[in-house]
Every structure is written in C-alpha cells, then in structure tokens.
C-alpha cells in the first residue's frame, strides 16, 4: 500500500496573527511555519503503520500545494519519516482551489490511502479532504480518530455523539483525520534530518484553476475587556452586573 499525507503549511500555533493596514490580507512577516497539527498526527500514524508492517505499507508520500517557501515544511515531513514529497506549485486560493491542485497532482498515481487533517489551524476550512475525495471519485470517511490496515481493508473508528463507530472500507480512500489518530506527533531524529536532503521532492506545475470564492476582508477579534473583581461578600453587585452589564441573566 502507498499512503499519501496531505500537508498544510501553517503559521506556528503560537503566532500572533497580524493583518495588513487595509485589513485585506494577513501579514505573514516574521511568521514561523509548521506542519498543520492534524496533518502532523496523520503523518505520525502513517509512519507508525509503516514501521509496524513495512511489507504492507511500502511508501509514504507527502504533498502540499504551495510556493517554494513551503518546502522546509515538506522536508521536515521527510525528516520525520516520509519517503518522498510532492509540491504543487500553487499558492493561495480557497479550499476548492487547493483540493483541485492536489487532485491534479494525485490523479492516476497509485495511492491507496490518502490522509487529510480535519482542518488546517490557520483558516479552519475543513473542506479540502471531502473535496479531494469527490474530485478523485474515491470513498471518504471523515472525523477518523483511529486507523488500522489489514490486507486491502482499511479499518477506522470515528467519534460520534455518545460513542465511537467502527467502519471498514477498501482502498483507494480519503480519510479525514482528527485528534486521536496518533498520540504524540513524531519528532525527527538526527538520522532523519540528515537523510531528508537526499529524498526526492518533486515539484508539479499548477493546474489551471481558479478559486470558487474571494476574500473581501478580515476583522480582528474584539479586544478582551479587563477582568472585573467583585468582593465575594458582595453577591448583590455580582448579580446586578451580570444583569445590567454582561446581560447574561
């Protein structure tokens, strides 16, 4: 089996997001880029499966749609244990644009299991995985929190209201994974970091596609107002303020 892990290159989760003065773009200056946390867990699970059964999982490929500045993130994935990488040379756009670019690079390639994070930590679109499955005409399962492979059978569990659901499906399939798919994201070893340079990173030209939507602007969240301390003896004032100021009761 060949596993493909879709990697979104996102700002470090501790980044303070800034906007351009006209609020029409995100200001990415000085941002540290990382593998989207859900994709990192997906990659970790793929590596675990390959390590546990190298005869079954032959190859792990990582892919991203993005500019050359996304390559360090792909090389980090290679250092963690992916075998090769693809970058579709297409930056920006919405979920449909990204899914179209990924589908264009993947169509006809022998990938059995395609893993996508449930969302990316920057735009939280939660759409690429489903769209990719649709464009490839593959089965897909969403909100997957565990994955096992047996022969050609793909066994997953999903979190549902009040419990878990076990599902069996066959390759080729797109799995949209969430927390739980792996516990701790893989930390690359020295050996991994050294060999990352020698692994293939293929650049594929972008498909002719245009986004299905256009961003017209951004709004920053409102400033958190200061915390008001109320004397524990003074419950009347608390009730009064909750009623008149916070208007929650």
């Amino acid at each position: 089996m060949n596993i493909l892990v879709c990697i979104s290159n996102v700002p470090d989760t501790t980044t303070r997001i800034k906007y351009s003065a006209d609020m029409k773009a995100v200001d990415y200056s000085g941002v540290q880029w990382i593998i989207n946390p859900w994709d990192e867990l997906a990659l970790t699970r793929a590596i675990e499966l390959k390590e546990a059964n190298p005869a079954l999982v032959q190859k792990i490929t990582v892919i991203t749609a993005g500019g050359a500045d996304a390559e360090p993130t792909l090389r980090k994935a290679l250092a963690c244990g992916a075998d090769d990488a693809i970058r579709v040379d297409a930056a920006g756009g919405d979920s449909l644009f990204t899914a179209t670019q990924l589908a264009h690079a993947v169509k006809g390639e022998p990938f059995d299991v395609i893993l996508c994070g449930i969302e990316s930590s920057d735009y939280n679109g939660s759409a690429v995985g489903g769209m990719l499955a649709e464009l490839l005409d593959y089965n897909s399962v969403s909100a997957v929190s565990s994955l096992n492979l047996e022969g050609n059978s793909v066994k997953v569990t999903r979190e549902i209201d009040g419990g878990k659901q076990s599902i069996e499906t066959a390759a080729p399939v797109v799995l949209i994974v969430q927390k739980g798919i792996a516990i701790n994201p893989r930390i690359p070893s020295m050996r991994g970091i050294m060999t990352a340079r020698t692994k293939s990173l293929k650049v594929v030209a972008a498909a002719a596609a245009s986004p299905g939507s256009k961003v017209v602007g951004y709004q920053a969240p409102p400033q958190k107002s200061a915390c008001k301390m109320i004397d524990p003896e003074n419950m009347d004032e608390l009730v009064h303020l909750l009623h008149t100021e916070a208007r929650v009761i």
Binding site: K76, P188, S189, M190, I193, A196, R197
Partner: protein, 381 residues
C-alpha cells in the same frame, strides 16, 4: 558574515525544543526533588540521536555540527540540565575524545555504542585533591607490560554509576609531572571498581554524580588513547570543546528562566497593572535579554570556530565564563520578578537558579576560565 541558521540546524533546534517542552517538562520537578535518574529520557534522546549527535555517521553518530549542538543544548537546558549534562559529557567529552584521538579499533569497539547511546560515557579527571589543579593527579596507572594497573579515587563524576564506559585520567610517570599522565578507556564493570554513594546536590539533582574508586583494576594496554604521556594534553584539549557544551547549557538555563520571567511579568498584576509595565521590571528584562544575546553569540562563535577547524580554546573559555556568570544573574532576577512564587518549585525558576550555580563550577570554574582568557590576552596584546 552570516547570522542565518541552516534549515537542518533549525530542524534540530525544533526537535530538541519539542522533546523538552513536551516530555522533559512533565516530570522535571519530581525528578529533581527526589534525585531520580532520567532513564527513559536518556533512552528516548538516544533514539533521536542526541547522545551522539556530533559523531561521524560512520561511527553511528548524528554527524551534526557544533552549531546544531549549541542549539540543541540550549533547548534541552531550558527545561532540564540534569539531562543536558548527560548529553554534554557523552557528546563533547567522551565521544569527542575517542573520535578525535582514538585508534580505529577503539572507535569501532567503544565509540559506536556510545554514539548510539546504548552506553553512556563518563569523564574521570577530578580527584578529592585535584580539581582546578588537574595536574596533581594521585590516581596511578602503573605500566605492567601488557596492561596498566589502576589505583586511586576520582571525585564528582557525572554519569559515575550509570556509565558503561569511563575515560580515566591517571599518572603513570610521577617523575615527569603532568607529562607522565595517561588517559585510559575503562569498562565500568571491570573487577576492582567501586562506586560511592550518589551525591546529594543543590541542583541538577537527577544527574548521577559519584566518586569512583579503583583498586588494582587491570586495563589492557590497547585501551590507552594516544602516546604514552598524552593524558593531560588530552584532557585539556577535550575540555576546550566540553566548555562549549556547558556554555550552551548555561545559556539555556538563562534563556529558560528569562522566557518564564517575560511571560509571568505580562500576567502578574500589582498596583493595578501588569508588573511588566513597571519600569524597573521592564528594565530588568532588557538587561537579561542583552546578556542572553551576548552569551548566545559567544557560544555560537566558539561552535563556529570549532566547525571551521580553527582554534577555539579562547572563544570557548570566554563563552563558558560569560554564559555561566550571566546564567546566575539572569536566574536570580527571574526569581525576583516572580516574587514569592519564584521561591517555590512549581514555577521552575528556583530550580534553574540552582542549576545555574553549577555551570560556574564544573569543567573549569569561572576563575579558571579567567586564567585561560587572561593568559591569552597577556600573550597576544
């Protein structure tokens, strides 16, 4: 001139940071309080390749440069210097010493397991009566033809009990003074070796410090590194590089405490505002930032010189001296910024302050670094 790190160097820094902030942080207070050796962490860091990161891949090491080593040591030391000292002794004293000066057979037999972290090394120079003055070695390695007979006591040995491989400095020809000293690779489990009790230390409490006694221990001749009488030079050369490790450790202790102080100063309020808005706190942070930046630059300069194959003894003495001094200053101020909370374990800065103190003492005290630096200054200028 270029102040950019390579992609690999940044990856190593991130890997060390991830491990420290996700794993080491979890039980660091517990391990420090009860002086518990970090067995699992040493194993995990060995698997990641940190225990032999400087060794050539041909001897199963990570093949990384010294700049990467400084970055990794800083990140690990931000959280736990009991772990980083194990990494430092193994990498920059024991592995380096064997790789640089050992024979091919010695590298094959001893370096490989050390580089893989399957065995941990210890460096046995200090004695009860020979600390700063390392020339007055009382431990003897008597030449018995095809073996050396080792007798004496070593003190303050990091990894003293857990190590599998010792590098022992001992006197063979007392009449020749420091030119009669040898260095021997000794199996920790050789007959005649006994290890004293674990030292109950002020800081780095979960690192494994012991005295080690040798009583008629036979060491094969082929375990001597270098020519007869090379031991003292070996120790001095190896410590030159070791100091970069300890300098980076001191840097990490300082920057770990600094990061906590900055965060705390933006959360804690006094007199109606976050304490960071009080100028005396903000100025403390400014002074700490400048000192840390200076220490980092000295560490990286020494590491860069070593990577370039240029002389680095002067630079590493400066880095070790300065970083250790400012680690003490910065951690003390970090405790001050935390007020009463800084004085309890939960906030980590008191532990970092205890750890900082050791960096002024081992691998050459601050005063010894001043001697090294001043000698160079006086001979050159």
């Amino acid at each position: 001139m270029n102040f950019e790190f390579s992609e690999e160097q940044l990856m190593i820094q991130q890997a060390a940071r991830d491990y420290a902030q996700r794993e080491l942080i979890k039980d660091v207070i517990e391990r420090d309080t009860h002086a518990i050796y970090p067995t699992e962490h040493v194993k995990a860091l060995s698997e990641l390749g940190f225990m032999g990161m400087l060794v050539d891949p041909k001897y199963d090491g990570g093949g990384m440069d010294t700049v990467s080593y400084v970055l990794a040591m800083e990140e690990i030391s931000k959280v736990d210097s009991s772990v980083s000292v194990i990494m430092s002794v193994n990498n920059s004293l024991v592995c380096y010493g064997i790789e640089k000066f050992g024979t091919e057979e010695q590298k094959e037999k001893f370096l490989k397991p050390l580089a893989r972290g399957e065995k941990i090394g210890a460096f046995l120079l200090s004695e009860p009566e020979a600390g700063s003055d390392a020339t007055s070695q009382r431990t003897t390695a008597e030449d018995k033809g095809d073996y050396y007979l080792l007798n004496g006591t070593k003190n303050w040995i990091t990894n003293g009990n857990t190590a599998g491989t010792y590098l022992v400095i001992a006197q063979t020809h007392p009449e020749k003074g420091h030119k009669g000293i040898n260095v021997l690779i000794v199996d920790r489990h050789s007959p005649g070796i006994s290890v004293g009790p674990h030292e109950d230390k002020m800081g780095m409490r979960s690192s494994d410090t012991h005295s080690v006694m040798f009583n008629d221990v036979k060491v094969p001749k082929e375990n001597r590194i270098g020519e007869d009488g090379f031991g003292f030079k070996f120790a001095m050369k190896t410590l030159e590089g070791g100091r970069i490790g300890i300098a980076a450790q001191a840097l990490g202790i300082a920057s770990g405490a600094f990061e906590r102080a900055v965060k705390y100063s933006k959360e804690r309020k006094a007199f109606g505002t976050e304490i960071a808005n009080h100028q005396s706190v903000a100025f403390k942070l400014a002074d700490m930032a400048v000192k840390i930046e200076n220490a980092r630059n000295l560490c990286l300069k020494a590491a860069w010189l070593k990577d370039q194959g240029k002389p680095y003894g002067y630079a590493s003495a400066m880095a070790k001296y300065y970083a250790a001094e400012i680690a003490m200053e910065v951690t003390t101020e970090a405790v001050q910024i935390h007020g009463g909370y800084g004085y309890v374990k939960e906030y980590h800065v008191e532990r970092l302050m205890r750890e900082a103190k050791l960096t002024q003492i081992y691998e050459g005290t601050s005063e010894i670094q001043q001697i090294v630096i001043s000698r160079q200054v006086l001979s050159e200028f």
